[in-house]
Amino acid sequence: MIIVDKSKQNPSEIQPSEITSKAVFDNRRQFIKVAASSGLIAGAALMSLKAKAAKIVGGVTSGDARLVGPGNAPSQPFKALKKGEIYNPRQKLKGVKKTAYGEDLKIDTYKNITTYNNYYEFGTSKSDPAVQARTFQPQPWTISIEGEVKKTKTIGIEDLMKLAPLEERIYRMRCVEAWSMVIPWVGIPLASIIKWAEPTGNAKYVEFVTANDRESMPGVTTPLLDWPYTEGLRMDEAMNPLALIAVGLYGELLPNQNGAPARLVVPWKYGFKGGKSIVKIRFVEKQTQTTWMKSGPSEYGYYANVNPKVSHPRWTQSSERPIGGGLFGGRIKTKMFNGYESEVGHLYAGMDLENNF
């Protein structure tokens, strides 16, 4: 059930009541069909509660958290895998809310987004992941929450998807290799996960540790990078509304090569910041070394903000090639913070971005 916000208003201004009523309206037939056997009428009623809770999740008291916590949501946003079944991302996610993010952008094709990937665990060529990740199983999946938190805990991917309403966000993705794409992600704000995780006052940074499975990831058997691939954000960056944990693409589940079942998306930073197939979210007091920092300290910094003024020894960063432009598509100028300056510029006020690259 996709809830389209036709009014083009800011996503935060959508009334929860509006979402619910439209959802119920659009899917009434479907609900009635299944209601008799599974008692989902009650679930439909709960939807409104969930939406309301998600709306106020910013304020979060433990009482609200109870409402949005795992187990309370009415229905699964996706069909769980049966035993022995192979993961197929080509299924529509339920309950995806359209947002105003990037609605004016020209989206790249599904084919380009899913066949041109940097995911070194599945090979170093761009075409490798689509082939090599076929046998990877992103379900069932749990993510553990560790470090400076009230209580260490784990969460299943199906429950993670219920921490906040699923949103479609069309974001630009700027790779450090000077190409870019426009991708329609489906996900939940990272902030909603952080609030649920209940970090302590000592938590100043968040670390994302990703899958490192020797059985299904041929790349990790070579010491190309310091596996597992690890990324990190400063707490205020992670709490920024733009930061997303993506669980879907094009309204469907995330394909393996794009980081199934859950990956980080921080569109104002170079693409490599977006750790894929996250297994652990760790809150820490001190800034940690990310995988690419260890690999090339002079080339890759912790912040890795898209910045046309800070050059990279291999690729020009002042311009980029948009994927999907064909042979004669040429280049466009790269924008500061990948065009998201008004949303994130304040995070770096007074910082020397030349040194903190």
Binding site: R314, S318, L327, G330
Partner: protein
Amino acid sequence: MKKPNITAVKAVIWLLASIPIARLFWLGFNNDLGANPIEFVEHSTGLWALIFLLLSLTMTPTRLLTGQVWHIQVRRLIGLWMFFYATLHVVTYVWLDFNFLFDVMIDDVLEHPRILVGFAAFLLTIPLAATSNQYMMKKLKSKWKALHKTVYLVAILAVVHFLLLVKKDLTEPLYYTAVLLILFGIRIYYKHKKKPVMNTAQ
């Protein structure tokens, strides 16, 4: 070994050497160059330039190893195919990649050692291609040989250019580096080998 028909050998080289460019046109017309077609063409033409460069450098080592000399006659043809693909590589960069935005391009060349090295390699091939005819050979006499020794430098720059391109996985460029080192090794070995030994071997 009987000396093969050089004209036939050259015809085969022409045929084989035009396959990569024909393939690019075929893929291009069928819209099958992948998500990043410019990069595809850039990498493909660059790789074939390097392959022809290395092939041209195998002529002397194979003479040293086999004692055969007839194949030296196709070296110029192979060298010119190298220049053809190298030119396409640069044209792709200047036109398709940077769309003649010379200010951006100059920054790119100066700021990135990879581009600088590649560009230097290409510039050095221009006099080689220009003097590859009989007329220039006769005119330059002994200088011709000295001039064409810069091909060794071009080869070194070309593999360095490739090595610098790769973000992390150096496997592919290292294969080509290994081939170049082997070719250099054979030359050096024979150069330092004592003359009498060489004579008895023949």
